[in-house]
Structures are given as C-alpha cells and as structure tokens.
C-alpha cells in the first residue's frame, strides 16, 4: 500500500514537472459556471472555447498552443476575487470575463494590479470602466447607454405616462434600473415613476409586490435583472391581473425567459444589440456554434467568442509567448485594435468601452425574440399586434 502511494506521488511529481516544460499560453475565462446562472457562464465558456479551438487548429499563437482555464465565480463578488487571484497565479496571459458586473468590478482590480488584460463579454455596469484602469475592456455596451435607449422607447415611442421599476438589487440590475430612471426623468417631467423597488435574486414569489403595483396602475413595468426572475415576474404579473407590458435589459434576453413565462411573455420589450444573425460576419460563428452545441440562442457566446479573438490576436501581435513579461503592451494593442468579428466592427475608446452604442429594442412575439424598434424611430405601425389591448385603455 505504502509503495503504491509513493509511486503515485512520484508519478504526480513527474507529471507536474513534465507539464511545466511544455510551452503554452494560458488564457482564462470566468463566470457563474455552477448555480442558478450556470447557463450564462456555460454559454460564455462555450464561446471562448470555440475561438481557442479555432486558433489551436491553425497552430496556436506563433506555434504555441493555447490552453483555456475556466473559473467559477458563482456570481459572488468574494468568489470572483479569489478566482481572479487563482488565475493570476496560474499565469494567464489574458482573461475573458467575468460575467456579472458584481463579479467583474471587484475582480478587475486584481487583473489591473497583475497587468493582465481582461475583456468582459457581458458586464454592462458603467462603474467597471470608470475606475481609470488600463487593463479593463468590454465588448458589450454600458447600462447608461442601455437605460437611455429603454427610456427613449418607453417615453417617446411607447408614450408611457406611469412607470413602475423593479430590480434585483445586484450591481447590474439596480444599476440598470437607476440609469433607466435617470434617463426617464431627463426625458420628460410628465412621466410619473410610481414605484422603485427591489426583490431578491433566486426568489420565486413576486406576487406581493406585483399585487401592490396593481393599485398604482402603471403603463409599463421595467425590470432590471436576469431572466429567471424576469420570466416569473412576467408570468405572475398576468396572474395577479396586471396588464402592463414588462420591459427589461439584456439580462432577460434569453429563451428561458419565454419558456418560464409562457404565453405571458408575449409583448414584452427588451433592450439588446441588433440581431447578430443579420450580421454577415456572424454566420460562420452561428454555424459552428450550432454544430457543436445544437441549442438555440446563447446570447453571450458570440460576445465571448469575439472577445477571445481580440485577446488572442493582440497576444499574437505582441509576440506570443515572449510577451509574458510585458503585458501592458497587449492592452495597448487591444486599445488601438480595429476588429471586424462576428459582432461587426469593434473599436475601443480610451476607457475600454466599445465606441458604438449598440442597443435597440426587441419584443417577444410568437414565442421568439424579434427586433422591434431602434432609437429615433416612431412606434412601429404593427404595434397593435404586439401590445396588450388593455395598455391602450383610455380610462386608465
């Protein structure tokens, strides 16, 4: 028995030793890989892996293979920092992540100090890039852009007079809701915000707060949060007798939102980027992704995919494996890069945000998401099929 243990121990020792000799470039991705949001984290990891495999098929970066490390932050700020430290110790050359704003913001200081570039595919809270960090980038939009587009739609196109706002108390959800509220009050003094209230992520019962909203008679309910709660809110709102449509941010843009809410999801509004399936560059991505994962829409996989390509391209330009000592160089290259990928043209500003503000409004119709409205347009004429009749009730 003892011999066996020693043998295994030696074997491990040897394996460890062997591994160190192999030259490879390690990049990391992190997000909620287990727990209630594990689908979102999994989508991101799938997108990153697809891009890494494409590079490895072509021989890696200057002949050096790329290895992917996946970290699970369970959308917990504390866990995110420990994952970030672990990644730094593993010697990653760059990070695609994290997913949630509440995880990305605390983790970003770790990467900044270590001089490792991070590109988040999904964290939209403005604070992330307002910290003055050199290493932080994002390929998605910001909540102040998103909140403004949502407010434009609600006030100008939809012409809501009374708005109720709910959020899930997270950095993302509450942040987006506050940006929305701010943008609404800048737009028009005549619009009344009848309620601004938080709820708990992971809860399943929102009937209490929704029943209370019924008495306040809003024209539209804005929800800042993620789809598991979004879907239930949409369903329970109809059950308690609310007729106002639900509007949300990119967090509820997921097929599960419609699956959970069922027929009650019809006529909801979501701010998201324009349909990537319409971008010619994205075709290749969707074909490959579907061939591998077979599932429907995984909205963040495409962001992760492009972010990974940007990172790997920058690493290649900076000189591949030899760059290890000088990671600042990589972040400089990313900042000046003009990349045409699956999402279209991407260029970063000095803060690390994408230059173009990409949001439009989608609606749910016939169990699917469908592009509906872009800023500056009037309300689409086919709106009557989409909206619940009671929202146009003159007596309300």
């Amino acid at each position: 028995m003892m011999k066996k243990i020693i043998f295994i121990g030696l074997l491990f020792f040897c394996l460890n030793g062997c591994q160190k000799k192999v030259q490879e470039i390690v990049i990391g991705t992190a997000g909620p890989m287990t727990g209630d949001q594990s689908k979102l984290g999994g989508d991101v990891a799938n997108g990153v892996r697809l891009a890494v495999d494409e590079w490895n098929e072509k021989g890696g970066i200057n002949g050096v293979k790329i290895r992917l490390e996946i970290g699970d932050d369970q959308h917990d700020p504390k866990q995110a920092v420990s994952v970030a430290n672990k990644m730094v110790n593993l010697g990653i050359a760059g990070m695609i992540g994290h997913f949630n704003s509440s995880a990305s913001i605390p983790a970003s200081s770790v990467y900044e100090r270590a001089g490792i570039p991070m590109i988040t595919p999904a964290s939209t809270n403005p604070q992330l890039t307002n910290q003055g960090y050199q290493m932080v980038f994002r390929v998605c939009g910001r909540d102040d852009q998103q909140g403004k587009v949502a407010a434009d739609f609600a006030v100008q196109a939809f012409q809501a007079k009374k708005l109720a706002i709910l959020h899930d108390k997270t950095t993302y959800g509450q942040g987006l809701s506050e940006e929305f509220r701010k943008a609404v009050s800048e737009q028009s003094k005549a619009v009344e915000i009848v309620s601004f209230d938080g709820l708990t992520q992971g809860d399943k019962d929102f009937r209490g707060v929704l029943t209370a909203l019924k008495g306040k008679n809003p024209d539209m309910i804005f929800f800042g949060g993620i789809f598991p709660e979004g879907g239930l809110i949409s369903k329970q709102a109809k059950e308690v007798g609310l007729t106002a449509p639900i509007m949300g941010g990119d967090g509820i843009f997921d097929p599960k939102f419609i699956e959970i809410a069922g027929i009650a999801a019809e006529g909801s509004f979501v701010t998201f980027t324009p349909d990537p399936e319409k971008i010619p560059h994205a075709k290749g991505f969707f074909q490959k992704y579907k061939a591998r994962h077979g599932e429907g829409l995984a909205p963040y996989a495409i962001y992760a995919y492009d972010a990974t390509h940007i990172l790997l391209k920058a690493l290649a330009q900076a000189g591949g494996i030899s760059v290890k000592g000088d990671k600042k160089k990589v972040s400089e290259i990313i900042r000046n890069m003009k990349y045409d990928g699956a999402l279209g043209h991407i260029e970063f500003d000095t803060k690390g945000d994408v230059k173009a503000s990409p949001y439009v409004v989608w609606t749910t119709k016939g169990g699917r998401f469908e592009e509906f409205w872009a800023p500056g347009q009037p309300m689409p004429t086919n709106a009557s099929d989409v909206l619940m009749p009671a929202t146009h009730d003159a007596s309300s």
């Binding site: 287990t34 727990g35 209630d36 594990s38 689908k39 999994g42 709910l166 108390k169 209230d197 938080g198 709820l199 708990t200 992971g202 809860d203 399943k204 019962d205 929102f206 009937r207 209490g208 707060v209 029943t211 209370a212 019924k214 008495g215 008679n217 598991p228 879907g231 239930l232 369903k235 109809k238 059950e239 308690v240 007798g241 599960k256 699956e259 959970i260 069922g262 027929i263 009650a264 009730d393 007596s395 309300s396």
Partner: protein
C-alpha cells in the same frame, strides 16, 4: 381599474395564505423529526426540491402519453402520489444511511451529517437534471382571478385546500391511530417507549416517510404554482420552513402549521406594504422577536 384597498388586501392575504401553506407543509417535516430525534434535518428542504423536480418529470411523462391532455386532474393526482412515494424512498434512505448509524453520537454529528446530505442532494440533482431552471409544462392556461370578485386563482385554491386536507389528515393520524400514539410516546421519552415495546426504529422511519411525503407535496404544489423549479430552491425554502417551525415552537405539530401560515402572510404583506426589498428579512425579524419574547415558540411543546 384601480383596485379598492380592501380587494388588494384580500388578494395579498390569499397570496400569503398560499405561500404559508407551502411553508407549513415543509415545516411539519422539520418539527416532526425534531420532536422525535431532537435533531434538525437540514436536508429536509432538498426533499422538497426533489419533489418539485419529480412533479415536472412525471408530468412530462404523462404529457408524452397524452394523459395530461385528457385527464388533467387525474394525472395531477397520480403525479402527487408518485412524487410522494419516491420522496418517501429518499427519506428512508436518508435516515438509514446518514442518521441511524450516528444516532447515539454527539448531537452535533447528525447536524453535520444533515448538512452533508443537503449538499450531496443539491449537487446530485444539479448533475443529473442540469443546472438551469426546469420549466413546468404549460398545462394550465394563465388565469387571473376567475371567481368573480374574490381574488383567488384556481391553483391557489387547489394549494390551500390540499394543504388543509393534508394537515387535517396528519392531525388525525398523530392523535387517533396507534402508530401516531407510538410516535407521540417516542417523542416524549424514547427510552420509556422502547421499554413499553414500541419499535423505535420503525416509528422513526415512519416519521421520515411522513415528513418526506409532506415535503414532496409541497414541492409538487410549488412546481404547479410557479411553473419553474431549480436545484437550489430547497435551501431558502428549508430555512424559511425551519423558521416557521421555530416560530410555532419546534417539535410542535400545530405550531408548525401556524408558524408556516403566519410566515407566508408576513412575507406577502411586508413585500406589498413595506418594501419587497426586505421580503426575506421579515421572516427573520419575526424569528428574532419570537426568540426574545417567547423562546419556546408561539404554541408550547406538547407533541
């Protein structure tokens, strides 16, 4: 369109009563096991979670064979029975594997064992069923209040009525049957009961079976009510139900019912009239007050 205040209050009370019925059913399992073994079965919430999954799985099977479409009520009844029986199996296995071998150990050991079972079951369901939320087949039309002016949905009515029936059944079982009497005897004094010839092990197994079945029923109800379940719902629900059991007086069966319903009401009314931001907080604020002013719970221990 604006609701008069009293109609809204009524609707909130119905929401609270529905939620409370579910808490009460779970709380009963906590309180019964505590009454007999003086141990807190932290894995009890996971049995409820498994019940909610089984409901969706069995209903999916019935839908596949077309039974749901032709006989909705019958298939729901069968789903409830099957889930309860399967969960009873989980309860028996849990008692046998995790609790019986360490029954005479220090009282912390079963507690830690229970936490282990809880973590195991959560991860077991996550790995076998996937980590994303499972959605209940849409077999019911979304209906808001269909009983005229009285704001209650058919599903809420179904949950409240079945919870009351189950609780009445349990009360009858504990008070009137010989097995129920044996249970009360074991709860009062295990040593004395065994000297009188009561098969302790069997009584304990029966306790776990009943507790698990009630939790399974709560799981089935919650699946129907919310239309969605996930592997982590057992944790918070377990905490709430445990709070309910303590509010009513742990070890006390009517206390658990009262505590559960009270908790549901407080949460619903608090979320509606104070702030939904602190919805989970209300439960624990009440717990603190109860522990300060009536440490043994609202109803004193008698079962």
């Amino acid at each position: 369109m604006t609701l008069p205040l009293d109609a809204m209050l009524l609707q909130q009370l119905v929401n609270g009563l529905t939620l409370g019925s579910i808490y009460a059913l779970i709380a009963l399992g906590y309180t019964m096991v505590y009454g007999i073994l003086e141990m807190i079965n932290f894995a009890h919430g996971e049995i409820y979670m498994i019940g909610s999954y089984l409901c969706i799985i069995f209903l999916g099977i019935f839908t596949y064979f077309g039974l749901t479409q032709s006989h909705l009520l019958l298939s729901l009844f069968l789903v409830a029975i099957l889930s309860a029986v399967t969960c009873a199996g989980y309860g028996i296995a849990m008692e046998r594997i995790a609790y019986r071998p360490i029954r005479s150990a220090h009282r912390l050991s079963p507690l830690i064992s229970a936490l282990g079972v809880s973590i195991f079951l959560q991860n077991y369901v996550m790995l076998t069923q996937g980590s994303s939320d499972k959605v209940f087949p849409h077999v019911f039309p979304i209906s808001s209040n269909s009983f005229g002016a009285f704001p209650i949905t058919p599903i809420q009515l179904f949950i409240i009525v079945s919870a009351i029936l189950l609780m009445a059944g349990l009360h009858f079982f504990v008070q009137k049957t010989s097995l129920g009497k044996a249970m009360r005897a074991v709860a009062q004094d295990k040593m004395m009961a065994s000297l009188c010839g009561i098969p302790i092990d069997r009584v304990i197994v029966v306790t776990f079976v009943i507790g698990s079945m009630l939790a399974a029923m709560a799981g089935v109800m919650v699946s129907i009510y919310y239309g969605v379940t996930s592997f982590y719902i057992g944790y918070v629900a377990g905490m709430k139900a445990f709070t309910a059991a303590v509010i009513g007086g742990i070890g006390n069966i009517p206390g658990a019912m009262l505590g559960g319903i009270l908790l549901g009401m407080i949460e619903s009314l608090g979320a509606a009239y104070v702030s939904s931001e602190f919805k989970d907080g209300f439960a624990f604020i009440i717990l603190i007050f109860i522990l300060i002013f009536r440490p043994s719970g609202l109803l004193t221990k008698n079962a």
